[in-house]
C-alpha cells in the first residue's frame, strides 16, 4: 500500500501549470490542479486534467524506433542517433542544408530550445527554425 501526491508541472504547453499527480500503489492514477501554484491557481485545461492518461497509454513510445523497410524496429539511443546523423548528412550533401527544418516546442525548456536553434544554424547550417505554436 503506497499512496502519495507528487507535485509537478504540466508538460503540455508553455504556460507551466502546477499539478499534483495522484499515485496509488505505484501507479499514476489521477491529476489534480495545484491549488496554491502561482501560475494556474487551482485551474487546469482539459489536457492538463487528463495527463495521467498519456503517461499510462499503451501507445506511448518508451524507446527509440527506427524505420527499416517500412517497419518500425526497436533500437537503443546510440544506434538511433547514429542513423539519424548519417541520414541528415546524406540529405545535406545531396539537397543542401535548407532542405532541413527544425521545429522547436513550448513543451521543452528555454535552454533546449536554444540548443535546437543552435543545432539548426551551427550544425545543419540553416535558418529554418520555427515553433510549434505557429504551425
Amino acid at each position: 500500500m503506497d499512496y502519495k501526491f507528487v507535485p509537478s508541472v504540466c508538460p503540455y504547453c508553455g504556460t507551466g501549470c502546477g499539478v499534483l499527480f495522484e499515485v496509488i500503489d505505484g501507479k499514476l492514477a489521477g491529476t489534480l490542479p495545484n491549488k496554491t501554484h502561482p501560475v494556474n491557481e487551482g485551474k487546469l485545461c482539459i489536457k492538463g486534467w487528463n495527463m495521467h492518461e498519456y503517461v499510462n497509454s499503451f501507445m506511448r513510445l518508451k524507446q527509440p524506433l527506427v524505420k527499416s523497410f517500412g517497419r518500425f524496429l526497436k533500437t537503443d539511443w546510440d544506434e538511433a542517433i547514429r542513423i539519424t546523423a548519417d541520414r541528415f548528412k546524406e540529405i545535406v550533401e545531396k539537397h543542401g542544408p535548407d532542405s532541413i527544418g527544425v521545429l522547436v516546442s513550448a513543451k521543452i525548456t528555454n535552454e533546449e530550445n536554444y540548443l535546437a536553434q543552435k543545432f539548426a544554424r551551427a550544425v545543419i547550417g540553416t535558418n529554418n527554425v520555427d515553433h510549434c505554436a505557429r504551425l
Binding site: K4, F5, L44
Partner: protein, 258 residues
C-alpha cells in the same frame, strides 16, 4: 490533532489518514500511515482546499475494507461525506474523521468584478436573489454570457466531491453536443445543474477550478433552493437518500474504479 492521528494510526483505528502536508511550500493532500508515523508532526489543516473525501472514495474503490481517517477542514467536508455515504461511495463504518473547522468559506470573501462582467454577466458573490433581481430576459442573457466562456475543461465535474458517475452525462454525445467550443450551451451547464440537485453541498470547489470564472455555485444554489422548497430536503445534512434517487431498486450506483 496530530496526537489523535498518531494514536489512531498506531492503534490501527485507521489504516490510512488523509490530511494535508506542506511540500515544497505548497499545502497539499497527504496520506499518513503507520509506517511513516514521523510525518504526522507535519500534518496541517487548511490553507488549501482539496476534496479529501473524493480522494477517499478512490482509495475505498481499490481497497473496500481499508479504514480511512479524513481531516475535515470545513463544514462542507462533513456534508460531502454524508452525501457520499448516502450514495454508497463510502462505507461510514470504515471512515473516521477529525474536525478542524475554522477555515472561512471562500464565498464569504469579497470579490473584484471587472466592469464588463458587471454589465453583462453574473458574479460569484451573488446569491440567487441578486440574480433574480434582473428580469428574465436580462438574466438569461447574462447566464448565456457566462456559459459562452466555458472551455469544456470538465474541471467543475472533476474536482466536485459528489460527482462520481462511471459514465458522465456531460460526455454523452446524445445529451450534450460535441465538437464545438463553447460546448452546447446552456445544455452543458444545465445538465450538470440538474445532477447537482440533492447532491451539491455548496463547497465551491467547482467555481475555484473553473478557468472561465463562471458563477457555477450560484446556479447550483438556486437548484438546491428549489429542492428544499419542493421536497423539504436539505442536501448534505438530511440523513436520507435524496428525492432524486428514484432510479428504481435494481439500479446500483457502484463505486468508481480507477
Amino acid at each position: 490533532m496530530q496526537a489523535q492521528v498518531e494514536q489512531w494510526l498506531k492503534e490501527g483505528t485507521v489504516d490510512l489518514f488523509i490530511g494535508y502536508k506542506k511540500i515544497d511550500g505548497h499545502v497539499m493532500p497527504h496520506f499518513f500511515t503507520k509506517e511513516k508515523i514521523d510525518e504526522v508532526k507535519d500534518l496541517v489543516a487548511g490553507q488549501a482546499h482539496y476534496s479529501l473525501e473524493k480522494i477517499a472514495t478512490k482509495v475505498a474503490a481499490e481497497h473496500p475494507d481499508m479504514k480511512i481517517g479524513i481531516l475535515l477542514a470545513r463544514n462542507c467536508n462533513q456534508q460531502a461525506l454524508n452525501v457520499l455515504t448516502i450514495w454508497n461511495q463510502l462505507n461510514s463504518d470504515n471512515i473516521k474523521t477529525i474536525d478542524a473547522f475554522g477555515d472561512a468559506c471562500p464565498s464569504e470573501q469579497a470579490e473584484d468584478i471587472a466592469p464588463y462582467k458587471q454589465q453583462n454577466g453574473l458574479s460569484k458573490s451573488m446569491v440567487p436573489e441578486d440574480a433574480e433581481a434582473f428580469d428574465q430576459e436580462q438574466r438569461f442573457s447574462r447566464w448565456m454570457y457566462e456559459f459562452s466562456k466555458c472551455m469544456k475543461c470538465y474541471g467543475c465535474r472533476n474536482i466536485c466531491p459528489v460527482c462520481f458517475c462511471k459514465e458522465c452525462s456531460l460526455e454523452h454525445k446524445d445529451l450534450v453536443g460535441t465538437g464545438n467550443l463553447p460546448p452546447e450551451i446552456p445544455v452543458f451547464h444545465l445538465v450538470r445543474a440538474v445532477h447537482m440537485a440533492g447532491r451539491c453541498i455548496d463547497c465551491g470547489l467547482c467555481e475555484e477550478a473553473c478557468p472561465s470564472d463562471i458563477p457555477l455555485r450560484l446556479l447550483y444554489r438556486k437548484v438546491n433552493e428549489i429542492v428544499k422548497d419542493v421536497y423539504d430536503y436539505e442536501t448534505g445534512t438530511s440523513p436520507d437518500q435524496s428525492p432524486f434517487s428514484v432510479l428504481g431498486e435494481k439500479v446500483v450506483l457502484e463505486t468508481t474504479k480507477l
